[in-house]
């Protein structure tokens, strides 16, 4: 079935999709929802392609849309219930790597929303501080403070162990 996307749109989707899904997985702690919201954000970018393609940083716009979608999703409370089910100890798939991965996701998921946004956009998506500040509609100094607080909290919970293992 033809995608009905232009070559530019398809290239944009292929380029942004992995980073977008990863950021949403970290933000939400749920890969399935992350994939769905990434698809929705990309669809919005394609629907408004005339405007998006002229932007200086269409990737940053895409992440802002995706984070907003994720926030709305979290507000609806569905994810909370599903996350509880997912972290149920009775779930069988429990090897060490998966356990670490889920622990980091869970720790990120416990961060306050703004700290989580700053951390994911800056350290996972690798957006410059100034771009993160624009997405979060705050000053760069605030982004630095938020990421610093987020890291402190994460270190307290698990990064300490990861660093110690090195």
């Amino acid at each position: 079935m033809p995608s009905e996307l232009t070559a530019d749109q398809a290239a944009f989707c292929r380029r942004e999709h992995p980073r977008l899904v990863g950021a949403l997985v970290l933000y939400l702690g749920d890969a399935e929802t992350a994939l769905d919201l990434a698809q929705e954000a990309l669809a919005r970018a394609c629907a408004a392609w005339g405007r998006v393609s002229r932007m200086q940083a269409p990737g940053a716009w895409l992440h802002r849309v995706a984070i907003n979608l994720a926030k709305r999703h979290l507000r609806r409370g569905l994810l909370g219930r599903r996350a509880l089910e997912r972290h149920d100890p009775s779930v069988a798939t429990w090897d060490a790597d998966v356990a670490d991965r889920l622990a980091v996701r869970a720790a990120v998921a416990t961060l306050p929303a703004r700290q989580r946004t700053a951390l994911v956009l800056r350290y996972y998506t690798d957006l410059p501080v100034i771009e993160v500040a624009r997405i979060m509609r705050c000053r760069p100094g605030t982004v630095r403070a938020l990421t610093s607080q987020a890291l402190a909290q994460l270190r307290g919970e698990l990064l300490h162990e990861a660093v110690a293992d090195d």
Partner: protein, 330 residues
Amino acid sequence: MTDDQRVRAVLHDAAGPGCGAPDLAAIARRSRRLRQRRRTAAAGVVASLVLPLLAAAMVWPALQPWTQLGPAHAPGEPVVPIPDPGEAVAAWTPEPGGRLFTPVLVVNVRGEIHAVRALSPHSPLGEMAVGWCRPAQAFVVRHGDVFAPDGSYVDGPPQHGLVTYAVEPASDGHVRIGEARDPLPRGQGDGARLAGRPLALDRCFDADELPPGDAMVLHHWPAEADRVVTPEEAPTARPGPDGWVVFEGFLVHGGGRPTALCAELLSMDPPACPEGSPRPRGDLARPGAEVALVVHGLFRGRPDAPFVAEFTHVATRIVAVDGVGGPPSG
């Protein structure tokens, strides 16, 4: 490895091994749905703004008791468009000699087209202009005269109906106003059938419902409102294309004095206009009854210097009788 690099590595690891290629077909489908939804929403917003305005524009005229006719057709133009059902249009027909014109109302009631002279035969002080009352589907005069759509008498002091005109079909939804016909006496025509029946006249005689200025005729003949002068200016004013001058002021009649017209009263007791004020000709020029009557209103007159001859009330209100009462404020 720096601390920042460690954080990045841990987060990338936590985000998972990757998710494969994006489903471009699904993204395209969602994108198409979004665009459709956006178009629908935009159409909805436009419709929600425009439809109420359209509905109001359609309903509002029907709620008004008086038909806003707009400027009458050119004087002497005997061909006018057929009015919408229940509505009226204004026209002017030439009087014998062709110098002056008479206002005519053409109405469409249940597909029958009637044309009447829009001046009532009754008034102790001259002719009164006739209006078309939509709720009653009848011609009315502020003093209480009521006529059926065919011009025949229904109610009020007049002894006969309105002068009517023959109406002949013309091309393209128009009618031609033909010869004048004598009015029917009381008890004949559709008026005899309507007499005594309840007609929705309330709104047309309710002062609150009247157009501003207490002048339903100005509502019917707005062209006249463009050139209202004072009685003192009337004798020398340049007449309109219909040959008449419209003026606003006081008519002082009776009290053993000659009838006079003026913009400002000299006194109320006894009611009097300043010396040299214009006087109408004819019966009204003679000293009237002992009781003095002061009428404030709009009048149409033939400018026949130095007097205003043969004038017609357009819209009037009796403001004082024998000095009791006073001119309207403002």
